[in-house]
Symmetry: C2
Subunit: 454 residues, 2 copies
């Protein structure tokens, strides 16, 4: 029976690792260019750090680690007898795998507050684990790449995050991404106007269907959800919300004239839109989207979400926002922050679909020394050493071919792995170097070979 791996997890082959590293290092370079600094936190945290931070659903999806040793010794006999799984958990498990990077980051900030110079710009690129039902683009082990600034309320950060998204996707040659922005204060303003904040989600969900079911359908759904006709009248400009960002902001200003908080949100967004207009974007587009309600219970200012270029079917490939109280859950009050995240695994799928990995250096050696002759081994080892000193990836086929069949096997090894050059023969310190793509052969000494392969 062939061995297997757990549902929702993946092995990565050499080429996959290389492509993933290309995305990681692109994001990392941009993060550092923007002044962000890396931290890393342990894969597992004390359960008390994680539990209760992601809602009931989140608690359920967190992977718990069984205590070591005689873990049942102190467990409540009644809970065991009645098989009360949920209540027993905290008695037999005190650690759990990281569910996201935000809560561990909040824990880190509180724990290390005396070593940190605020505002603290940190990035973190590590795996997280969720016992979710696996599906396309959703795994049980996946990477998040987060950048956050804590300890500042400046809107400059929001401008920089738009630029940062644009810089990463431009470097990945992924043109046409859409950076959508909203502001929680605008949503609160809309809630004021329609008369009840508890209807805000119904409202945004209905509005989001405008493309599919038209204005009539949207109004019908809103009425069904208990939003009054009068309220709908007030926010009607949103139904024809198709102009430029400037036009949208102008509409919002009129619509939210009666809500101070709403106007505040409009002015925040205006600052970002105006700045980005001055600065320009290389490959992405910035779009105001008032239906964006991502993490509504969490974000207090800007809300970001990035979608893949049109035509690529994929959920959001990034998102984030501003939160006024990140670290309050761990006892440190009034630390405002704003952050964004890149979905590494989904970005991978998008780049793959659009053939954007073509230029990635795969980890093949540049040259393979075929091994037909025992007498030449030291010469080969010396040549390999010289090539490696010049940073040329190279290897020798380890076993000497003692038959025609074995020679063919070496040949096949070179072609299957897509190795570009082979050394097929050595005589009097002269190497026969074969270009496997063209079939051309040259005879050269060691330094000539290094020149050719560089």
């Amino acid at each position: 029976m062939k061995p297997s791996i757990p549902k929702g997890t993946r092995d990565f082959s050499p080429n996959e690792v290389a492509k993933r590293k290309y995305i990681f290092s692109t994001i990392q370079k941009v993060f550092e260019n923007f002044g962000f600094q890396p931290i890393e936190t342990p894969s597992f945290e004390n359960s008390s750090t994680l539990m209760g931070k992601y809602g009931e659903e989140g608690d359920r999806l967190i992977f718990k680690i069984l205590n070591s040793g005689d873990y049942l010794r102190k467990a409540d006999a009644n809970l065991l007898g009645n098989k009360e799984s949920q209540k027993l958990t905290s008695q037999i498990s005190e650690k759990a795998l990281r569910y996201d990077l935000t809560v561990p980051f909040a824990r880190y900030v509180v724990q290390h507050q005396n070593e940190i110079s605020f505002p603290f710009k940190r990035y973190q690129m590590q795996p997280v684990w969720r016992a979710d039902r696996p599906q396309k683009g959703r795994f049980r082990e996946f990477y998040q790449c987060d950048a956050d600034v804590v300890g500042s309320k400046s809107l400059l950060q929001e401008v920089e995050f738009v630029q940062l998204y644009d810089a990463v996707f431009s470097k990945l040659k992924l043109t046409g991404t859409m950076i959508k922005m909203n502001n929680r204060k605008i949503l609160s303003g809309i809630a004021e106007i329609i008369g009840a904040s508890d209807k805000l989600i119904n409202f945004t969900v209905a509005l989001d269907k405008l493309d599919k079911i038209g204005e009539e359908g949207v109004v019908k759904e809103m009425l069904e959800k208990g939003i009054t006709e009068k309220a709908i009248e007030k926010v009607k400009p949103l139904f024809s919300f198709n102009g430029s960002n400037k036009e949208k902001l102008a509409e919002l200003k009129g619509m939210l004239a009666a809500s101070d908080e709403g106007l505040n949100g409009v002015s925040d967004l205006e600052f970002v839109v105006d700045s980005i207009e001055e600065l320009g974007l290389e490959s992405a587009e910035l779009e105001i989207d008032v239906t964006l309600a991502r993490g509504l219970n969490y974000y207090t200012g800007a809300i970001f979400e990035v979608s893949a270029p049109k035509g690529v079917k994929m959920g959001s490939i990034g998102g984030g926002g501003r939160y006024d109280d990140l670290t309050g859950i761990f006892g440190l009050k009034d630390v405002s922050g704003v952050g964004i995240s890149f979905g590494l695994d989904r970005i991978y799928l998008v780049l793959e679909e659009l053939n954007l990995f073509e230029t990635v250096d795969l980890p093949q050696p540049k040259v393979l020394f075929l091994n037909y002759n025992n007498e030449q081994q030291i010469t080969v080892l010396k040549a390999l050493k010289a090539l490696r000193s010049s940073n040329i990836k190279c290897e020798v086929y380890p076993d000497v071919a003692s038959s025609n069949k074995q020679q063919k096997k070496q040949w096949k090894y070179a072609t299957t792995r897509g190795i570009e050059f082979t050394v097929t023969d050595i005589e009097n310190e002269l190497f026969t170097l074969k270009n496997m793509n063209t079939g051309d052969q040259v005879s050269c000494n060691l330094s000539e070979m290094i020149e050719t392969l560089k």
Copy 2:
């Protein structure tokens, strides 16, 4: 109450992450130079893949993951009632965290055997988890960096692994590491000579104390362990085993003349020693060490262990060996392999102790724009954009200083973080650039600033 992290785990600050990345990327570059290709496997495996592969002690130290949902539903009521922790585990946990990289690699090779071109040279740098008692240089979450070749018995690999160790430590400027080698077949030969293989471990342990307790003490201990005087006489050359590698090999040849397997091991080592003598090492030394018995139940040929330079107190910083049957446990027979491992966390401690991180680029931005004036924000954002396009790490202090005190805070932020340059003023597109180390100030336009900072 301040939050904390689980025993034996660590947070890594920005500077620590940067230094760790420096080690990782050094090892990675050398691995790839030598023709190794990266793979990655999931953090957790099916428990059946891991359990029973590391002995009883290992099974105990593996972190098990609790099943999701109502995990007690199908559990045996008697086991619960009697609190039989050990027997219950497999009923409530079917996944476990990776304990090393070798078993997941063996599983990978078997599962992907039809996609792999053998000999397969793979490297893998990932964390592993062990519920060990934490102590200096031993953690519950730590990284391993492994390179293995499977599907070949060629001794060229052993030579290359010595070179690879030397290349990595040379690049890390860690001179004076000792690469110790032994061969399982020599140990088997000694067992033959002393009359019993079950006494081999007692024998090597006693011999290893030669430095401390002298020949007399060693002989005494051996006799106590039941090794006969006659047997001790036969292996006496090992007591004055202090010459060059060549001299040691000559001694061994004489001593093991009656054991074919022993002579075989000597000849294997001889090939490595002779080749390395021809090729030379840059910073490490190769030493035959017949007391090296690491992984005795596992290795079948070469055995490697690397110790830190003299004067640094630290367990081994690397090790490995040849195994004839890596994948047999998963049903694929006769795949010979040889591999080595780098202990990232220990290498870190050694480099720290020897101040060898001095040249590592820390992830600070090169320049910070102080933020004293609201009117200049777009000019600043434009300058940042231009600097980042030239790959100069930079940032702006996000909040505008509206008081003297706030200006001082920005100043302190720059010095605490060790940022090299600040822009203290902007007028008419001219930037006042201050070198924070020398105190020198220059007034320059954007392109002059880029030139200075590059």
